[in-house]
Symmetry: C2
DNA sequence: TGTTAGCAATCTTTGGCTTTGAGTGCTAAC
DNA sequence: GTTAGCACTCAAAGCCAAAGATTGCTAACA
């Protein structure tokens, strides 16, 4: 059977209506609200055909139709008409990002908040690195006799710090020397280069070999792992009628309250610009009744974070995609220009 | 009417049983499980008296008794027998805290995690300062032409950092000078002294007045506000049968997922060693059906954080209090000794 | 051949009614 | 003061009927 234009149109209407109302869509409501020129009997036969094609199903015989996962997939790929954000919304995004923001953490927190507020869904965020950030400044700062704070500033103008161990009783003068060598050695290199395994540690660094290996360890840790995992608006899920079911809420919360699960979810889509997962799709972290939309943002060609929206399968995809795209555009513009 | 010893005993049994089973306690179950020497009719008349005194109530006529808020209050003050933690539990706490931990953030995260895992309730945590920490080291580190990272190390051996603005085009040499002056001026002072308003900025600092006022601003911010708010085990609430009700879960989540609310809750009890709130008790942040137990820990006479456990009114108070006390003891011992 | 009106069939939802069982309060006896 | 016995109360569960929504099917129509 062929998917005629009219079938597509009706499918789109069903999906849109179901996303809006959370109620199975009847042939009658289609003809009353949208296609007033044809009869409900005609729509009925189309719906019945769409059901046979696997795009719709009925919760029970005397109910309207509900979109299947296949329908949502077709919808996000072909059928949906992206929302245009209001100028109010766009201004809001700009206002937030024009405020001074220096650390990786702050950027991620802010972005997660903006996304959750505009979409009215739960947002997830991790910092992400492809290792292509160039080190602009790197320095150790003693905080205890045997440990130091390593501060790294990269060309995204965001900084990151980590605590490292110092060799036993390293005098302050030597720390100064070590700092000079660190600066000389690492400044201008990308993070990836800085922690490459074949790095030649020059003879002159011999005395600070221990320090260097600690620093490289910290850099590797920074590049390979996101320690910042943020979730915002976890309680937004309660607004959706299909989550009147306590077990679904529990499923949902057992993901969004666990940093390691959120990290896994976002990491796996780190390299993908925009990704839409409808239902679990094999990921054990996503409950079957949920959908996840993720986006990775970058500035100056360098990844700065992966963000996601998690919510019911009946998610307002057109709104979510528009918000993610617009937030990305504005954030990237602001971080690139400064 | 008098609260005889037998009435107290029966009340204790009712509370213990209700905490364990989450079911209204019947006269029959009391005589079967605990007081096998007296008849259920006798217990019934005692229960009826306890109800008249306001300690118990019946969900409906043909149900057993449930403790009132008054009963829980009496229970935590007089009746409960504190749990002894197993050596396994105590070893677990020690093991966690013996790992190297340097930043304020890490300590708080770890402690919140330990408390949640041992109590099986949701834990809340904020960093807290009474301003009595002595500054051991303070330094600025340039991260951009016009901003610097301020790193402060105090005698609790934990560090904290903040980004501050630098005056326009401050040369590196001057930053070095400023650092020397900062060290000279602030080292040895308590945080409270450091941000006292009547601080005399000496003539010789004149050139760095702007830097100093930024630094003092950051110190004030650090002392007055907790920016670190941690929650752990938000999904533990689902384990409790009285939270099969979606509205209660929603109430609960709307508190524990909002950092500002958690901050308010814990801040108000920051100065209190151990505090038990049963029901809202006038705090709009606490749902009426919840209880909150908080504790503030300190090392070397300096506050290091306020922690809380939030859960159903039917909370295992004896376990929670024991865990909070033991975690406090071990944490304080470890932070004091090092 | 596609569209439509009409109608029986299906199945959820709601409300009321009954039964069952747990637990109490009261009374009278010890 | 304690206890056995018993009537009373009320929630919970099961059952049934009525109401309402929506479909699929059929036959007629353009």
């Amino acid at each position: 059977m062929e998917l005629t234009e009219r079938k597509k149109k009706i499918l789109q209407l069903v999906v849109d209506d179901y996303i809006e109302t959370a109620q199975p869509v009847s042939s009658k409501s289609i003809t009353e609200k949208y296609l007033t020129t044809i009869s409900s009997a005609t729509v009925r036969s189309e719906l019945s055909a769409l059901e046979e094609l696997g795009y719709l199903y009925q919760p029970h015989t005397s109910a309207g139709r509900v979109p299947s996962k296949e329908a949502y997939k077709l919808y996000v790929n072909e059928l949906m008409v992206k929302d245009n954000l209001s100028t109010k919304e766009l201004d809001y995004i700009e206002k937030i990002f024009l405020e001074k923001t220096n650390s990786v953490e702050e950027i991620i927190k802010k972005t997660a908040k903006v996304i959750s507020e505009l979409t009215q869904y739960t947002s997830l965020a991790i910092s992400s690195h492809d290792g292509q950030e160039i080190i602009r400044n790197i320095k150790l700062f003693r905080i205890m006799p045997e440990s130091a704070l390593l501060v790294i500033v990269t060309d995204t103008k965001l900084f990151k710090d980590a605590v490292i161990e110092l060799p036993h009783d390293l005098p302050d003068d030597n720390l100064e020397n070590a700092n000079n060598l660190l600066a000389e050695f690492f400044t201008g290199k990308t993070l990836a280069e800085a922690c490459a395994d074949n790095l030649k540690i020059d003879e002159s660094f011999a005395g600070y070999k221990a320090v260097f290996s600690e620093v490289i360890g910290a850099l590797k840790e920074y590049v390979s792992r996101s320690d910042e995992v943020i979730t915002e608006g976890e309680d937004k899920i309660f607004e959706h009628p299909e989550y009147a079911d306590i077990d679904k809420i529990r499923d949902f919360m057992s993901v969004v309250t666990k940093k390691d699960k959120v990290l896994n979810l976002l990491s796996e889509n780190r390299s993908i610009k925009l990704n839409i997962k409808i239902g679990a799709e094999g990921y054990e972290e996503i409950p079957e009744h949920c959908s996840l939309v993720t986006a990775t943002y970058s500035a100056n060609g360098v990844d700065i974070g992966t963000y996601g929206v998690i919510g019911p399968q009946r998610m307002d995809y057109k709104k979510v995609v528009s918000v993610l795209e617009n937030v990305g555009k504005i954030l990237e513009a602001i971080l690139t220009n400064r």
